[in-house]
Amino acid sequence: MADPKKFSPLQRVLHWLMAICILTMFFVGVGMVSTVTPKYLRLIELHKTVGILLLILVVIRIAARWRYGAPALPANLPVPIKLAAGLSHYVLYGLMIVMPLLGWAMLSAANYPVVVFGGLRLPPIAPQGELLHTVLWDAHHYLAFVFFAVVLAHLSAALMHALIRRDGVFEAMSPLPGPSMRQPGG
């Protein structure tokens, strides 16, 4: 039986899998553009592959959210925090969708073939163009830093719920089944 205080197991698996992938993307992203060593090629290949993987995962995740919803936030949570929580989740979902598409479109606009998963060649999703490339490049670049900052805020909020408020919000997305999981019929 589903626990109404928790996200569904599928949503929790997707959350933590994507969390690992997204953190990897931040570090691979800033690392790859700052090196001239042979690591560069391996990192850029990883960045493209994980980016496309995340694009697939976020589609599944949104479908799961639409199907299973989310547990209600605690009633005693102050309104500004509730608003911030709601808004930051829209921003996170938006960035999870937009960042891989910007990356793919940016490479398309630069006439680069997009090769992922060790040899799968994706078609371009944007026409070649200098101005378009620059706009997409800038967006991908600056939004990456915004994304990282929002993830840090999300991490701080999660830890605040887990360590200070202890209000069950962290446990709702806990990677482990956890002791609060009720037995069927319990």
Binding site: F26, L41, P113, P123, W137, S156, L159, M160, D167
Partner: protein, 351 residues
Amino acid sequence: MKPPRAGVGRSALGSWAIIGIVVAIAAIAFVYTAGWLSPQRTTPAKLVSALAPPGGPALGRRRNHVKGVCFTGTFEATGAGTAISRAPMFVRGQYPVVGRFNVATADPNAPDGTVRVRGMGLQISAPGQQIWRSAMISAPFFPVATPSAFYALLLASSSKAPDAMKMFIAAHPEFANFGAWAKTAPWTRSYAEEPYNSLDSFVFTSGSGATSIVRWSLLPTAPAVSVPPEVLAKQDPYFLDQEIAQRVKAGPLRWTMVVTVAAAGDPTADPSKAWPQGRRTVDVGTLVVQDVQPDRDGPCRDINYDPTVLPAGISTSDDPFPAARSSAYRVSYDRRTAEAKYYPRTAPEAR
């Protein structure tokens, strides 16, 4: 179940400290990975900036090999290449080509006749997004053995210290070979009379999965006529562009693409060392150049001749240069496309 918020107060300060430490560690790790705490790291941005001539880079244009002309044509594969690589453009047939002849300088004002090394960017396309790009030069080997040595060469050659080059040469003995080649190799009056060499090694994988490490060269069918450099220095600053545009009007220009296969123990990771004579070679096809277009408006403008853009059947080897070149070429492309307004295309009616 214990009531929520139990123990708040006593441990709250400690909990906030834990949150602060976790966020700080994540942020510092990120900044470290980005290289902001490592000013000594050779980044592609630094490498590209170091290429700039004393007057600054030519805005909107390639950061090296800045002068050149576009060309279009075909690659006519003999089919012999399929024995060593499953790249689709080795299957007997014709494949479209967009290339660029260029002179190896970052200075847009350097007269063509004063630049020792000439180059060719080449893109061969096959169906299914299978694209092979390379950027080759007329020298038979590279001046230095490693990307960091190349960066050191850029810093030394632009240094005001009187003994900078002397110290560089002492630390990089391979550079003397290049100096000897530059002094003795003949100069020609045409892009059409030059060979173009990959210098870097790559891995070819055949249909059966067998791998070989190779380098390739485009050998001109036009005979090379030696011209004294003093004569070339007096030519028009753009004489190479003019000459090739004239020459192609009389008929297509051809190069034979010869792939050389390394033997065990050959220096595959060091493009400053030529491989011994007598290695197995395969004539994989003929490059046919049919038309030449100006750099500003031609189809090569939109192409970054990144040598790591490879089809199935070709991959990078233990040679560290293609990765370094790819990272730097990308920065050059990002910068020049962002500056496109400084290098406007010519309106068709103005031509």
